[in-house]
């Protein structure tokens, strides 16, 4: 359908399923009640994590650039969004501008590509910490609130998030099916071979970082709408850097469904379990054990393991027939 036909038809299946999921998600406000902030509020956080996971998967999954500093973009987007909202800008333009800032930040960070892969991962880890004083210096303050006057209509906010999520998922899908995507996969597979074939590795890596940074910053800008006020300590929060990576790892690095599945599962267990084990912090225990379990039993992530299982069954069936 979209040109190069790189993906097997199973990917098309997943794409349709995801589209269906998004449409269904779009119907939720009708069931829950359009102004039911509580219910909708529980769901929007999933949208943020899915988007963030998608952004990480682009960089770390497809292009093979394992980066542990995506929180830098996220936090930056959050802060920028707060500044803009205070200036009277509405949420969607604020998100786009935040995204642009993220893209510029990505451009500034391209020198890090000189680092070898594991050093790249560790080097990017410290970048959010370094951004914090810079932000404080230029903004001359550390607290960024959304003025109480701006009330974000819950339903509208929800749909905005849904849009952000959907555009990200399918935008990346289209990107990966284009020429750019093919080059990225080549780089992710074998950087030296690609470069020997004439692929301008640096340019493609830059494009990936810029897009990934843009998306992550948009997610951060949106996140402000959830938390209302942000402090520069958000830069110190390693969760935004590490969790997207783990979500994608659990779901399956470099797959289409991986980030979505991983983000939903991860968030469901950490947020959902809170409700189930009301009153204790027992869910943390369950959460940690589940992570260790997945890591040992499904080291390649859920989707790849599933695929292997399915294809093995298919092979067995066809050999049984023969």
């Amino acid at each position: 359908m979209f040109g190069l036909g790189l993906f097997k038809s199973s990917h098309n299946n997943s794409a349709w399923v995801t589209l269906l999921g998004l449409v269904l998600a779009g119907l939720v406000p009708f069931f829950v009640g359009a102004s039911n902030q509580n219910a909708l509020g529980q769901y929007v956080i999933y949208l943020v994590w899915i988007t963030l996971a998608e952004s990480w998967n682009l960089l770390g999954g497809y292009a093979g650039l394992i980066n542990l500093g995506i929180g830098a973009f996220f936090s930056m987007g959050c802060v920028v969004s707060s500044v803009l909202l205070n200036l009277g800008v509405s949420i969607i333009p604020a998100m786009l501008v935040a995204g642009l800032v993220g893209a510029i930040l990505a451009l500034a960070l391209t020198p890090t590509f000189r680092l070898r892969s594991d050093y790249f991962a560790i080097g990017t880890l410290v970048i959010p910490f370094l951004l914090k004083p810079l932000v404080e210096y230029f903004a001359k303050k550390s607290n960024f609130d959304v003025p109480i006057g701006i009330v974000l209509n819950p339903t509208l906010f929800y749909y905005t998030g849904l849009g952000m999520c959907g555009i990200t998922i399918f935008g990346i899908l289209l990107l990966m099916r284009s020429r750019i995507g093919m080059a990225l996969r080549g780089i992710g597979d074998d950087e030296y071979a690609s470069s020997a074939l004439g692929v301008n590795v640096l340019m493609f890596k830059t494009i990936t970082l810029v897009v990934s940074g843009f998306i992550a910053s948009v997610a951060g800008a949106y996140y402000l709408g959830i938390i209302g006020a942000v402090n520069t300590t958000i830069f110190d929060n390693l969760s935004f850097s590490l969790f997207p990576a783990f979500m994608v790892i659990i779901g399956g690095i470099g797959t289409f469904e991986g980030p979505i599945l991983g983000a939903i599962l991860f968030s469901a267990v950490s947020y959902g379990a809170v409700v189930y084990f009301q009153g204790t912090s027992f869910e943390v225990l369950v959460f940690s054990i589940m992570i260790m379990f997945v890591a040992v039993v499904l080291p390649k992530g859920i989707i790849p393991t599933l695929r292997k299982y399915i294809s093995r069954r298919k092979r067995k069936d066809s050999s049984d027939k023969n």
Partner: protein, 330 residues
């Protein structure tokens, strides 16, 4: 605010003492990462375990058995070796050959697990008296005002202070420093003078060649992981000596710094890590001092020392990725 010479020297001394701890905390991970290229995210959590073991020791056993809390350092070493071996067989062994993601995810889960267990205790509570109730193995002294983290509020050691010419050396800090300065050269000797130690170095440099030479790689990996964990244990004990208040979240804040030190010192170089740790300790202490007490006219952020370390770390990484003491790697 007038700054005297004693203030400066005091500050340097504090920095060195802190640096000793940092060096010890980092050297274990440097060993593990050097041999297996595995980042044990739970390394910080290992340190915290040991810290709490030491605290418990000094609260429970010292009054009863009149044992010097220093002995708890040996206990820390032993406990963490066991922990390291368990972790290796439980999490690492199955995942180490299937790409980097497995161990990363598994140790991440482990770190959360450990944090939870320390904070909330895993075994049921024992009530000794109406005002004292403990849990069996890990006994955090919980300060409810802090929220979820368990805080140890007793200093594991004494608050004696050695006074030399106006410079104060808190006794626990001094002991911690001496311990670091004892352990690391011992480690270096082990790595260079024994077959198994050399085996670790060889495996870190070229594991296939090590296999061809008849070195048992599996045993080497277990050894390095266990040893690295044990070293984290010693560091944890020292941490309990030198900090009167700490929370389980300490492991999260330590890890980026430890990573920076490992790379600055050169992965796998023990002496390099020692020097890097000391330098970073001095850097943090010195820049905090400079920024916050001398140059107060510019309002520097309060954690400027750490930030400066990260900045230098990034710069060094870009310019010389193998750190100051590592060999140039392709």
């Amino acid at each position: 605010m007038p700054v005297g010479l004693t203030d400066i020297v005091q500050n340097l001394v504090n920095g060195l003492l802190q640096g000793g701890f940092l060096a010890l905390a980092s050297v274990g991970l440097s060993l593990i990462y050097g041999v297996q290229k595995i980042l044990n995210i739970a390394h910080g959590a290992f340190i915290v375990i040991a810290a709490f073991v030491t605290i418990d020791f000094s609260i429970l056993l010292t009054p009863v058995l009149h044992l010097d809390p220093l002995i708890s350092i040996v206990l820390d070493f032993g406990v963490l070796i066991v922990f390291g071996v368990l972790t290796y067989f439980g999490l690492i062994y199955k995942t180490e050959n299937k790409g980097f993601e497995g161990p990363l995810l598994a140790t991440f889960g482990l770190s959360i697990f450990i944090e939870y267990v320390i904070t909330n205790g895993l075994i049921f509570p024992i009530t000794i008296s109406p005002t004292q109730s403990y849990r069996l193995v890990l006994i955090p002294v919980i300060d409810p005002s802090y929220g979820n983290g368990a805080i140890a509020q007793n200093q594991a050691y004494s608050s004696n202070v050695l006074n030399l010419g106006g410079i104060t050396f808190p006794e626990p800090q001094l002991i911690a420093f001496l311990l670091a300065f004892l352990t690391i050269p011992l480690l270096h000797l082990f790595l260079t003078r024994t077959y198994y130690g050399n085996g670790i170095r060889a495996t870190a440099q070229d594991w296939e060649a090590a296999e061809f030479s008849g070195i048992d790689i599996r045993k080497t990996r277990i050894l390095s992981f266990a040893l690295g964990s044990g070293l984290a244990g010693i560091a944890g004990g020292i941490y309990a000596f030198t900090n009167s208040v700490f929370a389980t979240e300490a492991d999260v804040s330590l890890l980026p710094l430890i990573l920076a030190i490992i790379i600055l010192g050169g992965v796998g170089s023990v002496i390099g890590t020692l020097i890097a740790g000391l330098v970073v300790g001095l850097l943090i202490s010195g820049s905090n001092f400079l920024a916050l007490e001398v140059l107060t006219q510019y309002s520097f952020p309060s954690d400027i020392g750490v930030l400066l370390t990260f900045l230098i770390f990034l710069i060094v990484l870009m310019v010389r990725p193998s750190g100051f003491f590592g060999k140039v790697v392709k």
